[in-house]
């Protein structure tokens, strides 16, 4: 019997499922950042708003990168539905904490796909995901740097305005 599956698809089918789940997570991140951008806009924190618009765009790019990887390799990528996006926050600090937590979750999720890819010897997917491992380190560092500003400068009055201005250089 021919190995028809291998002729049609060059990644493991179970890994493809996990990558489709990852597409959903990236799409959710993108929407979550958009909601954060909106909150910042409403509260006059223009640089932070700008920061989250850009993050939102990046998450969409991540999503598309995975999307194309699946389709280019003979799999089927599914357009994600996004549910339960958080719009209510108490402070800018809370937003950046939520952003860091979100990035940590994404990092864990990427790592677990890599482990699984290793287990089923899907080197193509493992190699593809290397880029995401690096990217996640950078994203976590970004959020951490902003949170350090809060530790340094506090959260009230003028400090908030100063932090917002610093965000544009991060």
């Amino acid at each position: 019997m021919k190995d028809l599956v291998r002729q049609k698809i060059s990644i493991n089918v179970d890994i493809m499922d996990l990558l489709n789940q990852q597409i959903k997570k990236e799409a959710h991140s993108s929407s979550a950042y958009l909601a954060m951008a909106s909150w910042c806009d409403q509260n006059g924190l223009n640089y932070s708003a700008e920061f989250f618009y850009k993050q939102s765009e990046e998450e969409r790019e991540h999503m598309l990168k995975i999307f194309k990887f699946i389709n280019d390799n003979g799999g089927t990528a599914y357009s994600p539905e996004v549910k339960s996006v958080m719009h209510e926050f108490n402070s800018l600090q809370e937003i950046f904490e939520a952003a860091l937590d979100q990035e940590i979750e994404i990092t864990k999720s990427i790592h677990s796909i890599v482990f699984k890819a290793r287990k089923v010897q899907d080197l193509s997917s493992e190699y593809f995901l290397q880029w995401f491992i690096n990217e996640q380190m950078e994203e976590e560092q970004k959020m951490r740097r902003v949170l350090e500003l809060f530790d340094l400068m506090g959260t009230d009055g003028i400090a908030l305005k100063l932090i917002d201005e610093r965000v544009k250089d991060i």
Partner: protein, 105 residues
């Protein structure tokens, strides 16, 4: 044609000559490309079986599936859904097994 798996109601085949798959749904055999087989797998896997045992979410215990870009329609009861889930899981399991065997020979 190579039989991949036979469950209680259904069976799946791979056809080397036509480079495609067939699923026999009892009353009709359906020809599927690999992409279409993947799509069927996705649909079957995403059926929530628990909903069949909850009269609020799926009171009739019926599932309607369309195949191959809505060329075919399937109406399944709970037992058939369970059986189809088994068929899909085992079919892909067999395909993986064949690949492994081919690799070692």
């Amino acid at each position: 044609m190579n039989l991949l798996y036979k469950s209680y109601y259904y069976s799946s085949y791979q056809c080397d000559n036509k480079r495609c798959f067939f699923v026999d749904f009892g009353d009709k055999p359906v020809k599927l490309s690999f992409c279409q087989l993947l799509a069927l797998r996705q649909k079957v896997n995403s059926i929530d079986l628990n909903a069949h045992f909850d009269s609020n979410s799926n009171s009739h215990g019926i599932e309607i599936l369309t195949l191959c870009n809505r060329e075919h329609i399937l109406i399944l009861d709970t037992l058939q859904v369970i059986d189809l889930k088994q068929l899909i899981k085992s079919t892909f399991g067999m395909l993986e097994l064949h690949a492994l065997v081919a690799q070692t020979i």
